[in-house]
C-alpha cells in the first residue's frame, strides 16, 4: 500500500497568512519605513559618524561618561517610580468604573483623560503655580503651618508630576481590559470564598494583566522618554533632557545627543519587550461568552463615601494643573500669591481671533493622526498575534520605538526627506502640507494605539473569529465585522490617547507648521506663552485645547456607547 504523497505546504500557509495579511503588512511596513525609519535615520546618522567613517566610539564615550551613567539610572528610577504612582492612582479608579454602578464612573472616564491633555509648557507652569516652591499650596502651608513641602524638587518632583500626568494610560487600558473579563471568572472565586482585596489581587487584576501591562509599559516608556517635565522642573541629569539639550543647542553638531536618542529608543523597546515577555505563554482570552464584564453592583453608603473621597483626591491632584491654567488664563497678575490679584476675560479676547481656526485644525490633524494610529495599531496587533509572518515582532518593535523618537528629530528628518517633494497642482512642499503634520503626530503616537489594540486582541478568544470564518467570512470580512467591533474598547482607548496627546505635541509642530492659517492649538499656545508680559493668552488657549479634547473624548465615548447599546439591543432582538 502506498501512502499519498505529502502535500506541499505553501509559504503563506506555513505563516498562517493570507494575501489580506500581506497587504496589511505591506501597508504597515511602508508607513514605518517612509515616515519613521528613513527620516530618523537621516538625522541619527551623526551618532555613528566620526567625520570620515562609521564608528561606535561615541557609544563607548556614553558608557565612559559618569554623568550619562547617572542619567541612565535616574531615568530608569524615575520611570519605575512614576509607574508605581500612576498605578496607585489608576487601578482603583479603573476598578470603580467597571465594578460599581454609580455616577462617578462617567466622571472618571471623562476626567481621566484630561491629565494627558496638558501642553507641556503650560502644564509645568501651572504645576509650579500650584505646587511649586512658592505655589498656592506651599504659600498656604507656609501661612498656616510655617513649612513647605518639596513637591516639585528634583527627581521626586518629576515622579510626582509624571505620575499625575500619565496615569490615564493605565486607567484607559486597564478599564478596557477589566470590562472584557467574563463575570463567571469572578463569581467562581467569590463562590470559593474570595472577596474584596483577595478577589481583586488574585483573580480580577491578574486577568486584566494585558491591559495593565500595556498601560504600565506606556507610562514607563513615556516617562523614560519625556523631556518636557524634567526640563521645566530644571532636572537635567536624566537621559531625555540630556539628549534634548544637546540636540537643540544652536549650531552644535554634538553626536552625543544622537547617541542618547539611540539609547533611549533601544531602552524603551527593551522595556516594552520585557513587559510583553511577562505575558508570554499565558492565555488571557477570558471571553468565553463573548465578554459581559464584571458584575456591577450598587455601592453601599460608606463605600460610596470612600470611593468618592478617593476619586476626589485623585482628580483634584490630577486636575490641579488644569485648575492652575484656568486661573492663569483669567488672571491679571498672579505673583507670589495664593490666587491671582484680579480676574479678567481679556486674554480670551486676545486669542479669540486665532482660536477658531486653530481648534478646527487641531481636531482635523489629531483626528486624522489618531485614525491612522488605530488602523495601523489594529493591523500590527493582528499580524503579531494571529499570524506567523516572519519579522512580525520586528514591525511591532519598530512601531514601539517611535515612542522614544524626539519630536524634533522626527521633524528635522521629515523636512530633510520630504521638503523637496512637491505636491501636484498647488506646488506646496509635501513636508509642510498639513497631512504631513498629522502623519508626524501619528508616528509618535502609534505606540499608544498599538499597545491598546494588542491588549484588546489578546483578550479576544480566537474561536470567535474561527466561528465567523466557518460561516464564510474571509479574513478581511472577519477583521471588519468581528475583530474590530469586539476590540472596540481597546481601539477607542488607543484613539483617545493618540488624539489627546497629539493635540499638545509641540516639537514637530514648531518645525512643520508654516502658516498661521494651518496652525493647530499647540502652536498658538507656544506663541502666546513666549511673552514675558504675561502668560494669560497662552493659558487661555491651553484651556481651549483642554476643552476641545475633552469634548472630542466625550463624543468618542458617546459614539462607542451608542454603538454598544445598539448592538446590545439588536442582540436581544435576535
Amino acid at each position: 500500500m502506498t501512502l499519498p504523497a505529502p502535500r506541499r505546504v505553501g509559504l503563506l500557509a506555513r505563516w498562517e497568512t493570507t494575501p489580506f495579511h500581506l497587504i496589511c503588512a505591506g501597508t504597515v511596513a511602508a508607513f514605518l519605513v517612509a515616515f519613521l525609519i528613513v527620516p530618523v535615520a537621516t538625522v541619527v546618522f551623526v551618532a555613528f559618524w566620526d567625520g570620515q567613517s562609521l564608528t561606535l566610539v561615541h557609544f563607548a564615550d556614553f558608557f565612559r561618561t559618569s554623568l550619562m551613567i547617572e542619567a541612565t539610572w535616574n531615568s530608569i528610577y524615575v520611570a519605575l517610580m512614576a509607574v508605581i504612582v500612576a498605578t496607585i492612582i489608576a487601578v482603583p479608579l479603573a476598578y470603580f468604573t467597571v465594578r460599581f454602578r454609580f455616577k462617578g464612573a462617567a466622571l472618571i472616564q471623562t476626567l481621566g483623560v484630561i491629565p494627558l491633555v496638558m501642553p507641556p509648557f503650560v502644564g509645568a507652569v501651572a504645576m509650579q503655580l500650584v505646587y511649586g516652591r512658592n505655589g498656592s499650596v506651599n504659600l498656604l502651608l507656609m501661612d498656616w503651618f510655617g513649612f513647605r513641602l518639596p513637591f516639585m524638587e528634583g527627581l521626586n518632583g518629576v515622579i510626582f508630576v509624571q505620575g499625575l500626568h500619565y496615569f490615564p494610560f493605565i486607567l484607559l487600558n486597564l478599564s478596557a481590559s477589566l470590562a472584557n473579563i467574563d463575570s463567571a471568572m469572578e463569581e467562581s472565586a467569590q463562590n470559593l470564598g474570595a472577596s474584596g482585596w483577595t478577589l481583586f489581587s488574585k483573580i480580577v487584576f491578574p486577568l486584566a494583566m494585558p491591559g495593565y501591562i500595556a498601560g504600565a509599559a506606556l507610562v514607563f516608556a513615556k516617562v523614560f522618554d519625556d523631556l518636557a517635565t524634567p526640563l521645566l522642573l530644571n532636572v537635567n541629569n536624566m537621559l531625555a533632557p540630556q539628549a534634548y539639550l544637546r540636540i537643540t543647542s544652536v549650531g552644535l553638531a554634538d553626536p552625543m545627543g544622537y547617541v542618547i536618542s539611540t539609547i533611549l529608543v533601544v531602552l524603551s523597546v527593551v522595556a516594552v519587550w520585557l513587559s510583553l515577555l511577562s505575558l508570554k505563554n499565558r492565555d488571557f482570552a477570558t471571553t468565553q461568552r463573548g465578554g459581559g464584564g464584571l458584575s456591577k453592583r450598587e455601592l453601599r453608603t460608606w463605600e460610596k463615601f470612600g470611593a468618592y473621597a478617593f476619586i476626589a483626591v485623585a482628580l483634584i491632584l490630577a486636575l490641579s494643573p488644569h485648575f492652575g491654567i484656568l486661573m492663569l488664563s483669567l488672571a491679571t497678575v498672579w505673583s507670589f500669591s495664593v490666587i491671582p490679584d484680579a480676574f479678567t476675560f481679556a486674554h480670551y479676547i486676545t486669542v479669540f481671533r486665532d482660536a477658531g481656526g486653530m481648534m478646527a485644525n487641531t481636531v482635523l490633524y489629531c483626528g486624522v493622526a489618531a485614525l491612522i494610529d488605530v488602523v495601523l495599531g489594529t493591523m500590527i496587533a493582528y499580524l503579531v498575534l494571529r499570524t506567523k509572518l516572519p519579522f512580525r515582532q520586528l514591525i511591532d518593535q519598530i512601531a514601539m520605538a517611535a515612542v522614544a523618537v524626539p519630536g524634533l528629530v522626527l521633524g528635522i528628518g521629515i523636512l530633510r526627506v520630504y521638503f523637496d517633494v512637491k505636491l501636484p497642482f498647488s506646488g506646496e512642499s509635501l513636508a509642510t502640507f498639513w497631512v504631513m503634520l498629522a502623519i508626524a503626530y501619528a508616528v509618535r503616537r502609534l505606540p499608544y494605539a498599538l499597545r491598546s489594540c494588542t491588549a484588546a486582541l489578546q483578550q479576544l478568544h480566537r474561536s470567535l473569529e474561527e466561528a465567523a470564518e466557518c460561516l464564510g467570512g474571509d479574513k478581511s470580512v472577519v477583521m471588519r465585522k468581528i475583530v474590530v467591533p469586539l476590540m472596540a474598547g481597546g481601539i477607542l482607548a488607543g484613539f483617545v490617547t493618540s488624539f489627546a496627546t497629539a493635540a499638545v505635541e509641540l516639537a514637530s509642530t514648531l518645525l512643520l507648521v508654516t502658516r498661521d492659517a494651518s496652525a493647530p492649538l499647540s502652536y498658538g499656545i507656544y506663541v502666546y506663552m513666549q511673552s514675558a508680559a504675561g502668560r494669560g493668552p497662552g493659558a487661555a488657549l491651553g484651556v481651549i485645547a483642554v476643552v476641545v479634547v475633552a469634548i472630542a473624548t466625550w463624543a468618542a465615548y458617546r459614539v462607542a456607547e451608542n454603538d454598544r447599546a445598539r448592538r446590545a439591543r439588536e442582540g436581544v432582538a435576535a
Binding site: Q190, N191, G193, P206, T286
Partner: protein, 345 residues
Amino acid sequence: MSAPGVEIDRVSFGYGSTKILDDVSLRVEKGEFFAFLGPSGSGKTTLLRLVAGFGVPNAGAVRVNGRDVTDVPPWKRNVGMVFQSYALWPHMTVAKNVAFGLERRDVPKAEIGKRVAAALDLVGLGAYGERRPAQLSGGQQQRVAVARTLVIEPDVLLLDEPLSNLDAKLRVEMRQEIRELQRKLGLTTIYVTHDQEEANAIADRIAVLDGGRIQQLGAPMDLYDRPANRFVAAFLGTANLIEGDLAADGNFRADRFALSGLTVPKPGKACVSFRPHDVTLSAEGRNLAGTIQHREFLGGNIRYVVTVGPHRVTVDTVHRRDSQVYDVGASVGLSIDASQASVLY
C-alpha cells in the same frame, strides 16, 4: 428531624417589573441530589445563583443547613458552584486553581498540597496539576472545575448545566461520575439542567420550573408517571395531550376520540395525557381508528405519528425482527392503556 440542606422559602426575585422568580419554595434534604429542570428562561439558573449568593431575593429567605444566608455574601456561604463555562482562571495552573478555595480558608500549606492532590486524583487528573487550563480538553476542564469546588468541602454543591459543553458520550460518562462522587461524599447537591433525561438519570428529586414558578416537585418517576399539569407532562418525556370532557363514569370524549376506564378526580372539562408506549397499534381498529402520518425508526423503537380525527397521537412500538411495521398512509386501530393515563386540568 435535622434542618434541610437547602431551604428556599417563598423567594421572589426580579428587576423592576420583570419577575424572574415568583414565590418559590422548596427543601433539599441533606445528602440529596436535587435537580432544577426547566426550559431556558424558566428561572432555574437564577434560583441556583440565589443559593450561591449571586443576587439577593426581593422577598423570602434562603437557608443552608438551617442557617439563614439570604444576606450572606457568596464568599461566606461555603456553597460550592460549578459554572457552565467552568470559569477556570487562565492565568493559574490547574493545581493553583484547585488550591484557591483552600488558601482562602487559611488551610496550612502542606495540607493544601495534599488535599489538592487528593481532589485531582478523585477526578482522575492527578498528573495534570502543573498544566494550564487552556492545555486541557473540555472534559478535563470540567473535572478541574468539579475538583476545585469539591476540595473546599462545601455544605452544598451547585452545578449549573455542567455538562452542556461536552459531547453526548462524555456527557453520559460524566453524569455517572458526578453522581458516584456525590454519593461517595454524601453531598447535598443541586443540579441545573434543561435536559430531562439528564435530570431523570441523576437526581433523587426534581423541581420542574417554568415562568419563574415551580410546576411540580418530586422523584423523577413520580413526575413522569403522574405529571401535575400539561407543562410537566410534555416537558418530561413525550406526552399525548388531548382536550375533552370527562364523565363521572370514567369515560373521556373528545372530537372523534374516546377513552374509557379512567380514574375520575373531577368530572367536566379535562385533558387526558398518555405516553407513546402506552398505545398499541393493530391493523384493525376496535375502539379508535387512525391513519399513519409519519414513521421514524429509532433502533429499539419505531415511533409513529398517527392522526385520529383532528388529533395527532405519538405512538412508540417496540421493534423486533418479526414485528409488524406500518407504512405511512396505512389505516390502523389504536388501543390506549387507560390505567397508565393521567387526567389533567
